[in-house]
C-alpha cells in the first residue's frame, strides 16, 4: 500500500473517531438529560397527582359536609313519609355535585307504604324531581350503600357502581345511618354522586398529550378515567392490568405510571400515566438536529483536512523538487569547480566567482612542451545552460590544445564545434594565449573577449583584435597575433563581470577603475598574481557593495617568469652524414645541463630518429634543404624543436609498428618514430609558415 493511501485512511479514521467521540458525548448528555427529565416528569406527575387527590378529597368532603349540615331536616321529617321528599330536595339543592338524595327506610317502617320505601330526589334536566324507588324490583336492602351503614351504624362511602349500563362504574353513594329515638336504625340517608365529570377533571390539565389520570378503588376498580376522546379504552385496560401486577412501567417502557393514595376514606388510588417517549421526543428531535449539525461539521472538517493535506503534499513535493534541483546544481557546481585549475604555481593565479550556483565563465592554463597554454572565456547568459556550454568548451579547449599549438587554430576548431550544435544560440567570448617559455614569444588569438592588460611599469591593454565570439558564424577567421614578453611582465585577464559590476547608482566599475586599481597595485609592488587578484576583487566588492552580483566574476593573472634558460640551435643539411654533427651538438648541449649518460643517449636517439625521418621523408630525392634543431631548457625540462622546410610530414600521425611480431614478420621501417615516442615525454607536431615543426620534450630530474 502506498503512503498516500495510508494517509488517506488515517484521515478518514480521524474523522470517524471524531464522530464516535461526538456521539459518545451526545449519548452521555442525552442519558443525563433524560434522567433529569424523568425526575422532572415524576415530580410533575406527583404534583398533578396531589392536585387530583385534593380535588377528590374536596369533592368527598363537601358531600359529607352537605350530609352533616342538612341531616337535621331529614331527621325532623323522618316519620312523615310525604315530607321526606321535601327534606331530600332541600338536601341535594345545597350541593350541585350531588346527583340524587334518598332515604331508604328499614323494611316495613311505614306499613302504609309497603315493605320497602325509598323516597328519592334527583336532578334531571336541571330540575329536581321526586321518585319512590323501593319495591320488589329494587330491593335496596341488598345494596352496599344500605347494608354497610346499617350494619356498622356509621356513615360510609360505597364503592363505585354503575347506575346505568354505562362503561364506567361512575356512581358512588355516601350513606348515613339514621337512628330513631330508641337508638334503632330507622333509615339510611344517601347522597349519590355521579363521578363521570371526575374523569374529565382529572384529565383536563395533563402535561403531555398522551398522559392521563385515573382514579381507582383500593380493589383496583376504575372510578374515573380519561374520556374516550383522549385515550383509547384498551390502553386504559392495559394500564389497569399493569397496575394489578404492581409494575410501574409497560413492558416496552414507553408508558410510566405514578400513583398516589388518598389519606382518608375511601383510600382511593390516583394514577397518572405518561409516555416517556413523548417527553423525550423533543430531546430526540434535538439530538437528531444536533447530529445533522455534527455531520455537516465533520464533513467540513474532513474537507478541510483533505485540502490541507493536499496543500501540504504539494508543498512538500515542491520543496523536495527544490531540494533535488539544488542538490543537482550543487553537483553541477562541483563538476565545474573540478574542471577549473586548483593548483597554482607561484606565477599564476585565477578565480571564478559565479553569480548563480553555476556559472558561464572559465579559465584554464597548463604547460606543454615548454609552452604555457591558457584561456579565459565567458558564455553569454548565466545558470545551467551557460554552465553546460562552458563545460563543453572547457573540455574542447583541453583536447584541441593538446595537439594544436596555435591559438588561432584552437579557436577555429572550437568555433566549428560550437556552431555545429548551438541550438540555444549561445555565444562565447574566448581568449587563447600561448607563451613559449624559451623564446618569450606570446602567441594569442581572440574571439570577442575583453582585451587583457599587460603589466610592466603600468597596466596597458594588449593590442589584440576583437574578432567575433565563438558560436556566431562557423567560418569566422580568428587572426593570430604575437608579441615578445619581457621576463617579469604579467598578463591580467578578466571577464566583463568585473568591468560591468555595478554600484547602487547602477554605474559600471569600468575598465578605467580597473586600470587604476592595477596601477596602484604595481606602484605598491603588489602585482603578484594572488595579491593582485584579491586586491581587485576587494575593490570590486567595495564598489558594488549592497548590489547583487549579476554576472560571473573571473580573473586570471600570469606572471612571465621564465627563470634561467639555456638555448642553442644547429642547422644541418638534409644529408644523413650530417647526423653525426647533430649528435655532437646534442651531446654538448645535454652535458651543459648535466644530464646523465643513459638519459642523454635516449634523448640523442630520439632526436636522431626524428631528424633522420625528416631527411628521409620530408625531402623528395635530390631536393636540398636545411633542418634546424632548436634546443631549449630551463634545467627542469629540455625541448628540442626540429624545423624543416620540406613537404608536410607529420611523424606523429604514422602508426607505430607492432613490436610483438616474430623476426620474419617484422617490417624493416617504422622503428624511428616508435623510439622517438618512447624516449621522450612529449612529441608534438605542427605545420607552421610552410615548415614542419616537431617538438620533443623531456622532463629532467
Amino acid at each position: 500500500m502506498d503512503s498516500s493511501k495510508r494517509n488517506r485512511i488515517a484521515r478518514v479514521g480521524f474523522v470517524v473517531l471524531a464522530a464516535v467521540l461526538i456521539e459518545a458525548i451526545s449519548i452521555t448528555q442525552y442519558q443525563r438529560v433524560r434522567s433529569i427529565i424523568e425526575e422532572d416528569m415524576a415530580v410533575q406527575s406527583k404534583v398533578v397527582l396531589s392536585a387530583m387527590v385534593s380535588d377528590v378529597d374536596h369533592m368527598l368532603e363537601t358531600t359529607e359536609h352537605t350530609m352533616n349540615e342538612n341531616l337535621w331536616i331529614v331527621r325532623r321529617y323522618l316519620d312523615n313519609p310525604d315530607s321526606a321528599f321535601a327534606a331530600l330536595t332541600y338536601l341535594i339543592d345545597d350541593n350541585p355535585q350531588v346527583a340524587a338524595g334518598f332515604l331508604a327506610y328499614v323494611p316495613d317502617y311505614f306499613p302504609s307504604k309497603g315493605r320497602l320505601f325509598e323516597p328519592c330526589a334527583l336532578r334531571r334536566d336541571g330540575a329536581i324531581v321526586h321518585s319512590q324507588l323501593g319495591g320488589p324490583e329494587h330491593d335496596y336492602t341488598l345494596s352496599e350503600f344500605y347494608q354497610k351503614p346499617a350494619s356498622e351504624l356509621k356513615p360510609s362511602w360505597s364503592n363505585p357502581y354503575p347506575d346505568a349500563p354505562e362503561y364506567y362504574a361512575n356512581t358512588i353513594t355516601y350513606s348515613y345511618p339514621i337512628l330513631d329515638a330508641k337508638g334503632r336504625l330507622a333509615a339510611v340517608c344517601g347522597l349519590d354522586m355521579n363521578l363521570s365529570w371526575l374523569g374529565d377533571t382529572l384529565n383536563s390539565h395533563q402535561p403531555y398529550p398522551s398522559s392521563f389520570g385515573m382514579l381507582l378503588t383500593q380493589d383496583g376498580l376504575l372510578v374515573a378515567g380519561p374520556p374516550e376522546s383522549r385515550t383509547a379504552p384498551d390502553k386504559v385496560e392495559k394500564m389497569l392490568e399493569i397496575l394489578r401486577i404492581g409494575a410501574t412501567r409497560t413492558e416496552d417502557k414507553k408508558l410510566a405510571i405514578q400513583t398516589s393514595n388518598m389519606l382518608r376514606a375511601p383510600y382511593w388510588q390516583v394514577v397518572e400515566v405518561y409516555s416517556t417517549d413523548e417527553a423525550f421526543s423533543r430531546i430526540l428531535k434535538m439530538r437528531r438536529q444536533s447530529w445533522l449539525l455534527v455531520l455537516i461539521a465533520l464533513g467540513i472538517l474532513f474537507f478541510m483536512i483533505e485540502r490541507y493535506t493536499r496543500g501540504e503534499k504539494k508543498l512538500s513535493e515542491a520543496s523536495a523538487e527544490k531540494a533535488r534541483l539544488s542538490g543537482e546544481l550543487e553537483v553541477a557546481r562541483n563538476i565545474q569547480e573540478e574542471m577549473l585549475p586548483k593548483v597554482f604555481p607561484d606565477n599564476i593565479f585565477g578565480t571564478v566567482k559565479p553569480a548563480l550556483e553555476v556559472g558561464g565563465d572559465l579559465f584554464d592554463f597548463y604547460r606543454r612542451d615548454g609552452k604555457l597554454f591558457f584561456c579565459i572565456g565567458d558564455v553569454s547568459g548565466k545558470g545551467v545552460p551557460a554552465a553546460m556550454l562552458m563545460s563543453v568548451i572547457h573540455s574542447l579547449f583541453r583536447i584541441v590544445s593538446r595537439s594544436e599549438d596555435r591559438p588561432s587554430f584552437i579557436l577555429k576548431t572550437l568555433n566549428e564545434q560550437i556552431c555545429e550544435r548551438n541550438s540555444a544560440n549561445l555565444f562565447v567570448t574566448f581568449f587563447v594565449g600561448c607563451i613559449d617559455l624559451y623564446t618569450s614569444k606570446f602567441y594569442f588569438a581572440n574571439a570577442g573577449h575583453d582585451k587583457p592588460f599587460v603589466l610592466s611599469e603600468s597596466a596597458e591593454l594588449l593590442p589584440v583584435k576583437a574578432n567575433l565570439p565563438l558560436g556566431v558564424f562557423p567560418d569566422t577567421v580568428f587572426e593570430e597575433q604575437s608579441i615578445m614578453l619581457t621576463p617579469g611582465q604579467s598578463l591580467f585577464l578578466y571577464t566583463d563581470g568585473l568591468t560591468e559590476a555595478k554600484n547602487k547608482a547602477r554605474v559600471n566599475f569600468g575598465r578605467t577603475r580597473l586600470k587604476e586599481c592595477i596601477d596602484k597595485a604595481i606602484a605598491d609592488s603588489a602585482a603578484v598574481p594572488q595579491t593582485l587578484i584579491s586586491r581587485v576583487g576587494a575593490a570590486v566588492s567595495a564598489y558594488s557593495h549592497g548590489v547583487t552580483q549579476s554576472d560571473d566574476l573571473t580573473m586570471l593573472v600570469i606572471n612571465y617568469a621564465p627563470g634561467k634558460i639555456l638555448s642553442d640551435k644547429i642547422t644541418i643539411t638534409n644529408d644523413l652524414s650530417e647526423v653525426r654533427r647533430l649528435n655532437e651538438f646534442v651531446k654538448g648541449f645535454l652535458e651543459q645541463l648535466d644530464v646523465p649518460v643513459r638519459e642523454a643517449s635516449h634523448l640523442r636517439l630520439a632526436l636522431e630518429e626524428s631528424v633522420v625521418n625528416s631527411i628521409s621523408y620530408a625531402y623528395p630525392k635530390g631536393l636540398k634543404g636545411e633542418i634546424t634543431v632548436y634546443a631549449d631548457s630551463d634545467f627542469k625540462e629540455v625541448r628540442f624543436t626540429v624545423v624543416d622546410s620540406g613537404v608536410a610530414f607529420d611523424p606523429t600521425a604514422v602508426l607505430s609498428p607492432d613490436t610483438t611480431l616474430e623476426a620474419n614478420e617484422r617490417p624493416i621501417g617504422g622503428l624511428g618514430i616508435l623510439l622517438t615516442r618512447k624516449l621522450v615525454d612529449s612529441v608534438s607536431y605542427c605545420r607552421k609558415h610552410g615548415n614542419n615543426v616537431l617538438s620533443l620534450t623531456k622532463i629532467l630530474i
Binding site: 652524414s577 649528435n583 643517449s601 630518429e609 623476426a663 617484422r666 622503428l671
Partner: protein, 100 residues
C-alpha cells in the same frame, strides 16, 4: 664505430665498438657483408664496447638475423650494455634476438 669480424670454421665472431648511429649504419652495410655469407655458421656479436645504437643499426642487425634464421644458424648478441638494452626492449627486439 669500429667493427671486427673473425670468421672461424664453425662460427663467426663479431665485435662492435663505438656508436652504431645512422651515419655509421650507412658505412656498416659493406664491412659486415661476411655476415650475410655466413652459410650455416652461428654468429656471435660482442657488444661490450657498443655505446649507442639507432634504429638504422637495429635494422641492419635485423637483416642479419633474418638471413641467419633462413640458413638455420643462430645470431647471438653478447654483453649488451644498458643503453643498447633499453633500445632493444623499447623496440621489442629482445624477444627476437638471442641475447647472452
Amino acid at each position: 664505430m669500429n667493427t671486427k669480424v673473425q670468421v672461424l670454421d664453425d662460427k663467426i665472431l663479431v665485435s662492435l665498438s663505438g656508436e652504431f648511429d645512422t651515419a655509421a649504419a650507412e658505412e656498416m652495410e659493406k664491412s659486415l657483408q661476411p655476415l650475410l655469407d655466413c652459410g650455416a655458421k652461428d654468429i656471435f656479436i660482442d657488444c661490450t664496447e657498443l655505446d649507442y645504437i639507432s634504429s638504422r643499426g637495429l635494422r641492419i642487425l635485423l637483416v642479419f638475423l633474418k638471413n641467419a634464421k633462413a640458413n638455420g644458424s643462430r645470431l647471438v648478441l653478447q654483453n649488451v650494455n644498458d643503453v643498447v638494452r633499453d633500445v632493444l626492449e623499447l623496440t621489442g627486439f629482445v624477444t627476437i634476438f638471442e641475447i647472452e
